[in-house]
């Protein structure tokens, strides 16, 4: 693999179910991010991780959790999905997490919560 991969590509989920979106990068980047993209609201940061073992909250963290057990993987979990979490989710990474670092984005996961 090269760059960032996300899985699944798309998913339809019943409300109340638990769901984990997967993200893997092979660039040995220290920082990783999760965004959601909604029409009219743009890209909004959910959670981030500046290095393995650390995570932080972004602009819209409620209802989501993340872990960063190693450098390559950054899964996003919805503990109990709600319809307002219907969105396109993008994972991204950057070399250091410093402001102005180039972010590399995955292809996205389209999630529909019914």
């Amino acid at each position: 693999i090269a760059g960032i991969t996300q899985a699944p590509t798309s998913q339809i989920l019943a409300a109340g179910r638990r769901m984990t979106l997967r993200c893997t990068q092979d660039m040995r980047h220290n920082a990783m991010y999760w965004y959601r993209q909604d029409l009219g609201l743009g890209l909004r940061l959910i959670h981030y991780s500046n290095t393995a073992g650390t995570t932080g909250k972004g602009e819209v963290p409620d209802g989501y959790s993340v872990s960063r057990a190693n450098t390559d993987d950054f899964p996003l979990t919805l503990a109990s999905a709600v319809p307002s979490q219907t969105s396109v989710y993008f994972c991204a990474s950057s070399f250091s997490g410093a402001s102005g670092d180039e972010q590399f984005f995955g292809p996205g996961t389209r999630l529909t919560v019914l």
Partner: protein, 110 residues
Amino acid sequence: TQLLEQSPQFLSIQEGENLTVYCNSSSVFSSLQWYRQEPGEGPVLLVTVVTGGEVKKLKRLTFQFGDARKDSSLHITAAQPGDTGLYLCSPGGSNYKLTFGKGTLLTVNP
């Protein structure tokens, strides 16, 4: 108060036309990035501008950072259908990291 304002929100033009899109704020940024997102894909970095007044060119795309580092513009000359996409700006600076404007959705018709 919105940190970034991108305008126009939507733009539909014919192939060969020129266009300019804007990214404005009342805040000063240490740098500013422009990304392009094609349909069904994630955003891809086009350029980073750092110095006030800086102009960078990328083939038919010209990026300018305002003298006061509060705004930026992207000018496309002789637009082509391949330029179609969502253009996003993202400011740099410790207080603004990981923020994006809502973008300009550009459609270039053949």
